[in-house]
Structure formats: structure tokens, C-alpha cells
């Protein structure tokens, strides 16, 4: 049963990723990426990570995709690519290199030491336990994260300030 669920979700994730790469409209790409993120969220549930399932849906599927859609629509960059290539051999070489990478991963997965399947104790990923770890062992990184987000916020605002000195 779980294996069937995994197979369907993995298929949806891969189809979403491939469709994102192939669609020429950037808005469609963003929506296919949303499909991929949702499939990965379901996989998090299968992996006993309900907290990350919620985080994935809220931050990735919610905030980040909306930000992408805003940027695409704001810039009107749906079809920024035309078909001419400045470097003719770029695409085939990129495809070959991507396939080599996939083959390497497949080799490592197939021949490496198999990791234990796990999942005997589903409570290890409970939100309560994550919260306790986060606010005791990982309190400093947690606070540093707050500084990071503040820095990103200030950076974005600074980037969007228009130069008004030339006008006056």
C-alpha cells in the first residue's frame, strides 16, 4: 500500500519536474513546480515528517511559488526565450552531462551500502520533539536564522529603492 502511494507520488514529482523544464511559458513552469513541491510534501508525510509537510506547503507551495508568479507576471517574462542558441552545442552537452549525473547517482544507489529502511518509531518526527530540539539544542542557529531573514528583508527593500538623486 505504502509502496503504491510512493510510486504514484514519485511519478507525479518527476512528471512535474520534467513538465517544468519543457514548458516554454514561465507561468506554466511555476505551476508545474508547485505540483512537484506538493508531491514532495506528500513524500515527507510518508517519511514520518508531518512538521516538514506543513512547512513545505506553507513556505514552498505557498510563499515561494506566489513570489515566483508575482515576479513572472510583473516582468512579463513568460516567453523570454527565443529558439536561437548563442552556443549551439550547449543543449546536447547539458543533456549528456545531466544523464551522466543521473547514471552516477543510480550507480551509487544500486551498488552502495543500502541504508536501513527505518520507520519503526513514527514519533521521532513529531512536531513536539522537533520544537523541543529547536528551542534547546538548536536555539542559537534558530536565532541566527531570524537575523538572516531580517538581513534578507532589508536587502530586498534596499534593492527595490529607486535612485531619485538623478531626478532632483
Amino acid at each position: 500500500m505504502e509502496l503504491v502511494l510512493f510510486a504514484i507520488t514519485a511519478l507525479v514529482a518527476i512528471v512535474g519536474a520534467v513538465a517544468m523544464l519543457l514548458s516554454s511559458n514561465a507561468i506554466h513552469s511555476a505551476l508545474f513546480l508547485l505540483l512537484n513541491f506538493c508531491a514532495i510534501a506528500v513524500l515527507y508525510l510518508l517519511l514520518n515528517a508531518p512538521f516538514l509537510f506543513a512547512i513545505q506547503l506553507i513556505i514552498y507551495a505557498g510563499a515561494i511559488i506566489v513570489l515566483f508568479l508575482f515576479a513572472v507576471m510583473l516582468l512579463g517574462a513568460e516567453r523570454a526565450e527565443d529558439e536561437r542558441d548563442t552556443i549551439a552545442w550547449q543543449r546536447p552537452v547539458a543533456l549528456v552531462m545531466g544523464l551522466i549525473l543521473a547514471a552516477q547517482v543510480a550507480y551509487v544507489v544500486l551498488t552502495g551500502t543500502p541504508a536501513p529502511a527505518g520507520g519503526q518509531d513514527a514519533a521521532f518526527g513529531a512536531p513536539e520533539r522537533i520544537a523541543r530540539e529547536l528551542f534547546t539544542t538548536y536555539l542559537l542557529p534558530f536565532e541566527v536564522t531570524a537575523m538572516l531573514i531580517l538581513a534578507a528583508l532589508v536587502g530586498v527593500v534596499v534593492l527595490h529603492i529607486r535612485e531619485k538623486r538623478q531626478v532632483s
Binding site: A13, A30, N36, A77, M97, R129, L134
Partner: protein, 100 residues
């Protein structure tokens, strides 16, 4: 139970797809989306290993990764908007001001 190797294989496939996207697409926004795809596949692998080891620390690591990714997307898209304002394009081949 599903073997951890299946998850790692899926993460590898998604990562390879992201690499192909970064290398072949020329719309900067789609390149950026491919980077997000790679981040997600890495997260998936980490969560799979966390489940295999029954360790909460892996999930906390992924939580921090997601937070950093969110900050990165905000700054990156702001940069793209600025580039679009000056160059009127999001084609990565056209953005060559630093070319020697």
C-alpha cells in the same frame, strides 16, 4: 516499509533534472526554479536519511534549509527585477555586463 534507496534514487533523478534545467533553459526565472528543484531534492534525501536513522536532527536541518531557501528566493527575485529594469530582459545570455 519503503527502502531508503528508493527515496535517494528519486532525489537523484530530481537533482539531475534540476541540473539539466539550469544548463539548458535561458529564462533566468526558470533557471531559478530549477535551483529550487535541486534544493528540494536534497531536502528529500536528508529527510529520507533522517527517517532511516530515526533522528530528529535531520528534519531540523531541512527546516533550516527551507528557511535559507526562502530568504534566497526573496533576494534572488529582487535581483532579477533589478536586472530586468536595467536590461529589459530575463534571458541569461543577454546578461553579460561582466563579460571581459
Amino acid at each position: 516499509m519503503i527502502p531508503t534507496g528508493y527515496y535517494v534514487a528519486l532525489a537523484g533523478v530530481l537533482f539531475a533534472l534540476g541540473v539539466i534545467g539550469v544548463l539548458t533553459r535561458r529564462n533566468a526565472l526558470v533557471v531559478f526554479m530549477s535551483v529550487e528543484l535541486m534544493l528540494n531534492s536534497a531536502n528529500l534525501a536528508i529527510v529520507a536519511f533522517a527517517n532511516a536513522r530515526q533522528d530528529t536532527a535531520g528534519q531540523i536541518l531541512v527546516f533550516f534549509t527551507i528557511v535559507v531557501a526562502a530568504a534566497e528566493v526573496a533576494v534572488g527575485l529582487a535581483l532579477l527585477v533589478q536586472i530586468f529594469r536595467t536590461k529589459r530582459t530575463t534571458d541569461v545570455d543577454e546578461i553579460n555586463l561582466l563579460k571581459g
